[in-house]
Symmetry: C2
Subunit: 231 residues, 2 copies
């Protein structure tokens, strides 16, 4: 059947690796494709870049069309251009990632009919993915794993108010290792980018923990002066 599909000479596309954190698990957003090729397969949200839009703009637009998510800030991380990565011809794809607060429903409604639905999947248990999307995901995962070790970007994944234990278990999930509770808290509080709230979590069995908020202003101040080789 593929023979009747149009052939591309050279086309750009965008693919998005969108991370979320829910039920103690790291998840990414996948769409169920409703078009050939790879119809009915799971895939990263992605589509073709239009003639008159920048890459960043295309990324935002495409993510919205396929998942309904609006105004998500994404960062480009790699471009995949193997000759045979797309069965219809030469398609080079620029990959973006984002980490977002996952508070809506598990299943999102695409705006276009190109995807049937968008669903959060735990990264530990992903289905088989279309194209080379498994490779793209893997590279994106490595990217955030590295990034989190030198920049506290994990807050974007948490609800606005969170406990230190939640923050720690997020780190543990991303880094795939256990961290020491006291050292972790000391270090995080030392950054000075957490606002301690006079509130405790609610609706938990057993003792409730104190809630914290992420302080954007202090974060910006701290990380505008990039990491430097010390004197």
């Amino acid at each position: 059947m593929e023979a009747i599909l149009p052939k591309f000479d050279s086309v750009f596309s965008i693919d998005c690796v969108i991370f979320g954190f829910d039920e103690g698990e790291l998840k990414i957003l996948l769409i169920e494709r409703n078009e050939e090729p790879y119809k009915d397969w799971w895939a990263l949200p992605g589509y073709l870049v239009e003639q008159n839009e920048s890459l960043d703009h295309a990324a935002t637009r495409i993510l919205h069309e396929l998942t309904g998510l609006r105004d998500i800030y994404m960062e480009q991380f790699y471009t995949f251009g193997d000759v045979d990565r797309h069965p219809q011809g030469r398609v080079i794809t620029v990959a973006y990632y984002a980490m977002i607060r996952l508070n809506g429903p598990k299943e999102l409604k695409p705006v276009t009919s190109y995807a049937r639905k968008a669903v959060w999947y735990p990264v530990r248990d992903l289905p088989k993915l279309a194209f080379d999307h498994a490779k793209i995901f893997e590279k994106g995962f490595v990217k955030i794993r590295n990034k989190i070790t030198y920049q506290p970007i994990a807050f974007e994944l948490l609800p606005e108010k969170f406990t230190l234990t939640q923050l720690q278990s997020l780190y543990e999930v991303i880094l795939n290792k256990n961290l020491d509770k006291r050292n972790f808290r000391k270090k995080m509080l030392n950054y000075g980018i957490l606002k301690e709230l006079n509130e405790k979590q609610k609706g938990v069995s057993y003792r409730a923990a104190r809630l914290y908020k992420f302080d954007k202003r202090k974060y910006a101040k701290l990380f505008q002066k990039e990491l430097t080789f010390s004197k």
Copy 2:
């Protein structure tokens, strides 16, 4: 005159930021263009990706054609896709960088007529560049500056045998700051990736310094286990 140039619907290209170190200065390789658009301008070595080659392959090929350099390992660092970055239409470019040992002549002979010549230019004093190449260079420079702070990649820029003072001044040039001599030496030797040679530099006025070699095997062993968030 531009009206008679062909229009591109969508084309991929590669641009290369090739760093070298010579005469105490950090340099990059520029070509003098011999074709429209931007004929006679200085530009990063770059050209269009062909239909049947991967990005990595295209990068190596293009660098060779424009500068005569062979088998240079480059790393992709960003993709630039602003709508108007190329006057003839939509050209998305994937940027690569490399750090190489600069031991040949200052001027290199391109294989194609697309460039007239390729020349090493000090990064502190670059000419005006074609397209958005100034932006591409800048991003590449930031990339290596960050990378060098957590991975000793600077050796690739030095001759096979080098003194610690040479290594230090390379760091100082890239990071644009002075480093403490004793601390620098302590740290570098501590990595355990330098082989001390029983040789001294030659042809210098005043006391000659000891020469060192970079030990690839130990480097590989040290940096395969990536940086990790400590427990």
